[in-house]
Amino acid sequence: MPTAVIERLAGELRGALGDEQVIDDRARLRTYECDGLAQYRVVPALVVLPRTAQECARVVRACVAARVPFVARGSGTGLSGGALPHPDGVLIVTSRLRTIREVLPADERAVVEPGVINLAVTRAATPYGYYYAPDPSSQQICSIGGNVAENSGGAHCLKYGFTTNHVLGLQIVTPDGDLVRLGGAAPDSPGYDLVGAFVGSEGTLGIATEVTVRLVRLPESVRTLLAAFATTDAAGAATSAIIAAGVVPAAVEMMDALAIEAAEAAVRCGYPAGAGAVLIVELDGPAAEVEAQFAEVERLCRANAAFEIRIAADDAERALFWKGRKSAFAAVGRISPDYIVQDGVIPRTALPEVLRRIGELAAERGIRVANVFHAGDGNLHPLVLFDDAIDGQAERAEELSGAILDLCVGYGGSITGEHGVGMDKAKYLPRMYTDDDLDTMQLLRCAFDPRSLANPGKIFPTPRLCGEVPGRHKGAHPLQEAGLAEVF
């Protein structure tokens, strides 16, 4: 991109939005060079911080006129490089769109700007006895706009669903620069479910400028237990038994020995000594219901060889249980100089087998893997530990990390459960989907963004030129030939 184009654009946007809203000096641009996945770094050509939806639309229209790509950024905590800037593009940051517009407990709704922090929505709703259910571990810093783009999940999504189940309406700036409303405050808006299509689209279908979310009644009762097992197999069996008993816990989280070791080193959570795996099981709901089911969960943990069970006596103890789990990603920094946070999904029943296979793959490569995951829904977060200072380890870790994704796909799972495809996993997407599948997804993209200006290069390994005729058959996909993709 000729710098003259960017200079003209910067001048135009300064005039329209004011000097304070436009950043083009190199040093300040650099602070935006990466998101939560720091191994990729690209300095954007320009950063703009709109204060209103109209300003945001103004920026996008200017980009369209100049044929300059743009990338939305919320808090920059994404773990797949989704908010990685484009070197010749504009980074549109939502940090000045932080107003909570409405909290309507009687309607169980809140209307917020995209830069609002996830936890702030819950804080605004709790005085009324409500909260915002999706709770990514990054909820103290990540933005609702980023959550919408990634369809973020959290520990309690097992029972309450993901971001997509909690967003009813959006105002977006389309990649043409138009402000459009999708969905609304009421459910089932007529027409295509474009809210459903937009949530999880990782900034490739436009920029969300207002989000209408569902608020959930704070539960009457919350009960949490921590169960220690000798092996991950036993903990996995306990999880399956709980689900098979018809219990729908709010959360079932597992950590293996290495992850526990890291958490102890970092936050002294005091988990039972000698555990090969711990489970955190949380139930919530009406007191009468929770009491009955909690006893059942406790019994099932014992029946599956839990050697110690602790029951949180109060919120403080519950917080301690969770502290170990929620700090786990950062905690592995205590036991390894470098690490990769992987995010894959398998059918929950395959858990023991897959963990064993991951162990074997790791051993073959002489690399350690700590496992922390949402056991209830089979969402694994293997933490691949390595030392960049040791020759070849980074490459081996990277390769192992990819092999784990292959394993997930092989078991009928997914290459990402919540962190998104972004820039990091675009190359893996064809392992899950055929060319025709991807081509069909891109029809949606072309409908929204025919010029490919909205976050180009993310999600899809090869961009589709929107003018071209839909691709014809190119022979069977390897997955189909392997008999794996008869269905998927």
Binding site: T164, G184, G191, L194, G378, G412, V421, F488
Partner: protein, 440 residues
Amino acid sequence: MPRLDTDTNTTAQMDTLRAAIAAHDGSGPEGAEIGVVRPAGPADAVGGVPARIVAAPGSTAQAAALLRAAAGLGLSVVFAGGGSRSDWGNPPRTLDLVVQTRRLTGVVEHAAGDLIVVVRAGTPLAELQSALAPAGQQLGLDDPVGGATVGGTVAVNGSGPRRMLYGTVRDLLIGVTLVRADGVVAHAGGKVVKNVAGYDLGKLVTGAYGTLGLVTECVFRLHPVPAARSYVRCRVTAAGADGVARVGRLLRTVLGAQLVPAALEVEAPPEGGYDVVLLLEGTPAGVAGRAEVAARLLGADALPGTAAPPWWGRYPWQPGDTGLKLTGVLSGVPDLLAAGRAAADRHGVPVGVRGSAGTGVLYAGLPAAADPDRVARIVEELRGATAEAGGHAVVLTAPDPVRDRVDLWGPVEGLELMRRVKHRFDPDARLAPGRFVGAI
């Protein structure tokens, strides 16, 4: 055009479609089952528009071959499931081929331990539920008309009372196989509940009335069948503003309490009065405890019981009537009830309203015999009331004279983007042309 000509043309087209299907059933041109491709009869008309040809592919591959051939012939196509809602939406502008899903049936995989099921789209919802029941599992979708197929339920986004707890199709559908207008087969989502890889095309085809492609296979997340159920029913006899106000108080009480109902329904029959009923599901002890609390909260007239009221989970209309879906925010539900009563009184037409007060999705029924001009005015008024409540009034079904007088869909946000989506998926507008919003 001379009749003989059309027939020859139709016969030739049927041969082409038959050959396309036969190439994919492994048995060669002679093998295709009799009746898999046949001339259409009067019973195959969709919304009063006669079809020429009916085809029933038996697999996704056959459906793909069929739709590719239909694309080559430039045929307009409508997909048909159980036919329980074939009168919903506008009649197609043109219609050549009806593609039935009646041979695309059966459970492909039920992974009970993972609480998921892979099912072919033509499977009746009721059949799916009985297949899941032995494992103590269910798909959390109601079947308000009866006889709906899985694919049809996805296509019209059908839901019932228990949407309050389980959500709707969009919350339960985790994977989908789709055949595009050009015959290309596409998958999205998968077999795991948690999955953010790629665009969620399942949401896009949910409620799309078959205008983007044929859904041949669905993957759903399942729920355990609850061990116990209880209905707590409260009758409100007060008329006029007092009655609506009392209903409003009851709804607020339930929503503000810690009951977590599976459903909170309101019934406002044309004869007057209201029923507010909540459904509790869970463990025997938990349900008993919550039912007691509910009865206490709702006051002296509240009645717990194990049987659903007779109107439960049914739309408040009969075949041939006008049926509407009315949505609004929760606090707007009493206003919608009031608007229904007011419109009925003003125009002298009986209006029955019922639905999910706990999610803000109500339905209204007006008799087939009602004067269409008055019905049209009532639709306009209800549209105003739903707009005030932040929602929409959509006419799902209506007799022809009413259809002539109203826009079934009403105002739609984001229509321009929807048209663009349709154009990308079906550039020649051959799939259910005109049936959907904005003449899509």
